[in-house]
């Protein structure tokens, strides 16, 4: 099993990513409130759209739609439509987390995906409200009849997304991250295990939720669910390790954000704990494990396999 990618495979993955982005962006366009000069609150709608449409790889939608393809749902238009709606909702949730993470009181980032962050483009209160509104909207979409005719599926989609975001999920991870940054040099006791725990919550929980939601839409059996969860967990952690590596080795042009921020903040990352090469090697091991989870599947698993390889090969 090799992780290296041929140019053909890379362009195959980019085609998958592009197709997925287009579907999800069309759906987001129809789901997000339309700006309207007659309405004062229109500024909120603009800010929500600004951040949602600021680019990004749409990895979480890709995870959902690729898992849906893996499980055969893509071949039934009704199921594919549901998966696209869920993917759009989860991308709203992800965008909420980016907007709030970038706030001055959090990571204080001015640049995201090569564009001014929401609070820079608008202002701080608009960014707080836009994030809040996107989080609410995610759940409104998931609970909507149009997302699935079976209410037990809708309620379960909400539960999965909310649990991955709440105090035991992403918000808990973000809290650990902020506290770790604030520690004095001398008290720094961040170890690899602690960092992995943080990142499993901060990034991994939502990656895993994506695969769980797609499994739910396809009534996947328990065994398949476990393989997918393990795939998502490994890919999520590897993704974060490479993110840390790129913060050391990448350029602003490649990343679309300011590199070296971790070093300036004197932050413990996988790159500082394991070294750039060590972090890369661990990410590779995780992506190999992720691929093994897909061993029982055929060519329908190709997008998920390519994603696991792309994550360690990406330069932005």
């Amino acid at each position: 099993m090799t992780l290296a990618m041929t140019p053909v495979e890379e362009s195959q993955l980019f085609d998958f990513l592009k197709e997925c982005s287009e579907k999800v962006e069309d759906m987001l366009e129809s789901l997000l409130p339309q700006p309207d000069d007659e309405l004062e609150e229109s500024r909120l709608f603009e800010a929500m759209r600004y951040s949602v449409f600021a680019g990004g790889k749409r990895l979480r939608p890709f995870l959902i739609l690729s898992t849906n393809q893996l499980l055969g749902g893509e071949q039934t238009p009704a199921i594919e439509e549901r998966a696209v709606r869920v993917a759009a909702a989860i991308e709203m949730l992800h965008t909420f987390s980016l907007i709030h993470d970038d706030l001055p009181c959090m990571d204080n980032d001015n640049l995201r995906r090569g564009k001014p962050t929401c609070h820079v483009q608008f202002d701080e209160f608009t960014a707080v409200l836009a994030g809040d509104a996107l989080l609410s909207s995610c759940f409104e979409v998931l609970a909507d009849f149009q997302t699935h005719p079976d209410a037990s599926i809708r309620a379960e989609l909400v539960r999965i997304a909310a649990a991955s975001t709440g105090p035991l999920g992403m918000m808990g991870g973000q809290m650990i991250d902020m506290l770790a940054e604030q520690r004095e040099e001398g008290e720094r006791v961040v170890e690899q295990g602690e960092l992995a725990r943080l990142q499993r919550k901060k990034t991994g929980a939502l990656f895993q939720a994506c695969c769980e939601c797609a499994a739910l839409l396809n009534h996947a059996d328990k065994m398949v669910q476990l393989h997918l969860q393990s795939y998502a967990r490994n890919v999520g952690l590897a993704f974060q390790m490479i993110d840390d590596v790129l913060d050391v080795t990448g350029t602003k042009e490649q990343l679309g954000k300011t590199p070296g921020k971790d070093a300036i903040a004197n932050k413990a990352t996988f790159a500082t704990l394991l070294g750039v090469d060590g972090a890369r090697r661990q990410a590779e091991a995780l992506c190999e494990q992720a691929q093994e989870q897909l061993a029982h599947f055929g060519p329908e698993a190709q997008p998920l396999r390519l994603l696991a390889r792309y994550i360690v090969n990406r330069s932005y």
Copy 2:
């Protein structure tokens, strides 16, 4: 129909409020994550609990439980239990909105319910995350099987709560409010209709959602739903009008927060637009209309009737 309250009626309402607070606080205690010194993210759990248990009248839970009583649900322990869970979830959502409203970039309030606001007691990033986590947790509770055995009810509870919070609800209202505050004196064109629209979104939408959720738990018919919606809308708007009046006439000790902030911010309120007496009179008219919506009910509507009268009689 009189709005004045005898001391007996007032103490009857306070008993209702107290009983309701106790039920909901016990439920919140069991639903919110337990602080644990072993966990770094425990600070997040502490902040969530700090703000949730900082007092407050628990008016939204009261609306839910009183509507549940009105519709007979209180007499079936299973339905009462569901209503208490929904009330706890909505109180989490309400607390989220208070924490974020108080942030330096929003209303910049240091005092709430007589105590330091979340970002003062903890810090700003903790307050942002605690709000986010409470919002997520609300939906996680509503979508949970324990809240209702019928998934279509669970999904609908989520939809109602999310719609009342999102860009067309509370977040939209907060955006209009923030923009109105920032306008230059000369451009100030806030009129009563605009202010009512703002407040219907900012406060009214969630009040209405409370009655809708309780109606849903009791399978109330369309006519009853409409009466309850109208009741909640009127009571919500009256509540805000008296809030504005109290900001002019109340003391810090009475209010548990700094009065006169609207005047300092040169903010258009019902008190500035209609005068203190005018705002009070309008609030009274709204509360009378609210009471009329309950005309077809018997003594089981007593808590909701007393609430409508209390709102114009309260001094904090």
